[in-house]
Symmetry: C2
Subunit: 367 residues, 2 copies
Amino acid sequence: MSRGHFDWNSALPPNDNDNNDPAVYPDEQGESRGKVTINDVARLARVSKKTVSRVINNSPLVRDDTRERVQAVIRQYGYAPDPQARALAFRRSFLVGMIYDNPSPQYVVNMQRGILDGLEGTGHLLVLQPCDRSDPNVYDPIEAFVRQQKPRGVILTPSISEDDRVAKILRDADCPYVRIASVPLDNGARMLRTRDHEGAKAAALHIAALGHRRIGHVHGPSTFRSAHERRRGFEEGLAEHGLTLDPALMREGAYTFESGAAGAASLLAMDDPPTALFMGNDEMAVGAYQAAREAGLSIPEDVSIVGYDDTPMASRVYPPMTTVRTAIREMGAEAARQLLGGDEYLAGPQSQSPQPELVIRGSTAQR
Amino acid sequence: MSRGHFDWNSALPPNDNDNNDPAVYPDEQGESRGKVTINDVARLARVSKKTVSRVINNSPLVRDDTRERVQAVIRQYGYAPDPQARALAFRRSFLVGMIYDNPSPQYVVNMQRGILDGLEGTGHLLVLQPCDRSDPNVYDPIEAFVRQQKPRGVILTPSISEDDRVAKILRDADCPYVRIASVPLDNGARMLRTRDHEGAKAAALHIAALGHRRIGHVHGPSTFRSAHERRRGFEEGLAEHGLTLDPALMREGAYTFESGAAGAASLLAMDDPPTALFMGNDEMAVGAYQAAREAGLSIPEDVSIVGYDDTPMASRVYPPMTTVRTAIREMGAEAARQLLGGDEYLAGPQSQSPQPELVIRGSTAQR
DNA sequence: CTGAAAGCGCTTACAG
DNA sequence: CTGAAAGCGCTTACAG
């Protein structure tokens, strides 16, 4: 069954004239005041409403000339099927939920845009479902949402995407979903893998190539898989230069400015401080800028700093920050397509985000 | 008619046991497999479905003991009415649209959270509808959305909120709305006024009190009413100290980092440059930081800088930025309540945002 | 205060 | 390839 892959936005009457053209909003025998239904289309095209329904849903079981006759009427009268009525009959709404707990506004907004890109022209709506994993009742609103709204599907971003209990709730409620995460947590059709490992490795290669040997790392919270993946990729990159990450030079942060500042301050206060810092994300890296400033150290002369994410802030701080760019918006679009594509993705390989890309700016220099 | 002011989320069965307790998802005589409908509730409470409907919709036309009997059944069986079915019958969905074109992620995310705060417990969903006023077809998706989805209402943020053609489209489609804007563009029930004028005035008072006399201003794009309101408020504040804003010391920006940098650079390159800059928003103010740095000027010793918005960046740049805090999230919540409250707001005075508040940090100093 | 009938605008299941 | 009937789960309009 194919459903809803028409661009029903474009089925709206063109809006290039201001007068209420009766051909646009017909008012035949005064009964359909401004609102064309499937019955009107059926009558005008001299077919049953079931045939109109088949045309709407791209069923192949319609003769070509019948289909064209129906489509002509649809176009002429600016007919668009009622999503609520369709949802009721389908037992499935045309909503796509985004479930997220990522604290970065930039990430959230980019992801939203990407999902909207992927949804465009499909007639689906994006519904926001933020959550907080530290709330013991995180699961209730999610379950209420999927059971009551019967969304077409949901997209989960880190770190809530890593929660298997949420996934189980969704499966039990028969709700399709795509999890965006840095490790394969689910079957291929339900996973979109980010490549944190590769991005962090690129950062390591860059730092090592600059001649740094004492290298510090403030990673994200251990409850985020991405924090682990970035550390692992970073270590792998260092290993290619025969280096290892000294545990004494690692700190755990919370992906926040404050935690980055604290972690970096602690490292820079050591007797033999690191000459380069790889911070788990840009937010923490800006915190490291502050810590360096307070320690009287210049960036990059005294200490090189690398972030992760390439948020707008990265290019606006001074000096502009070397960081790793991730294509968040593209990832959101891909997740949406994957969600709606469904079975097509079952056969293929696990889908992945675009390759993260190192952006070299002014916060890193030769040792 | 009161509708949908129940917290249907809490009507979901408590999830404290993992087994499929038949009292939670009843399967009486094998016909209602895991899905309780209004018919089940009616039968179990020995009333008509119409009476159940009255209870759901908080109609006063139900005897207390009848109501309690129905509510007991609803609770016991974890009944939650189907939003799609209600929407079809009501000819109005339980969606609330947010229509926005604000470029700042921080603003967008805060506003979303606020709207969600205001929607909580009402059974309404937040649907995203970003737009771009520079696109000649901005209006089409908006009209398609409100005509097809029949949302419960939409909330508009600056600058799209200032567009009267959008407002007309919404009225013509019979779609309730609230416009968030710095000037009264519509009737009271449809307006939530921001107090840009007051925030900017506070900034002016602060700068003038520090003894500055040559004061520059980079304002937002003239297509934003807020840009005008902020300038006006700023001038009013200066006037209280007997000062005026020299037109030669004004530049137009675009509320972006780059435009702020350019505007500030142009002012700081003057023969007799201003000793203080009031930037139209934080984003542009960070641009002014860059311009000052490139001109070899220290903040605040050589030039004081004031922003507007108090985004997280404001406290993370160096030196921490003096700026004006606006309660965006609270505003979103208020807009949502106003939208759902409807007529209650018709009588009262025009609703306003909380008072903007000057946050003095390290980017301003005595002349 | 309560209910039986009709309807919202679609799709499913069945028949041909 | 096409259609008449029944149904999705609610509310409206009317009656009592």
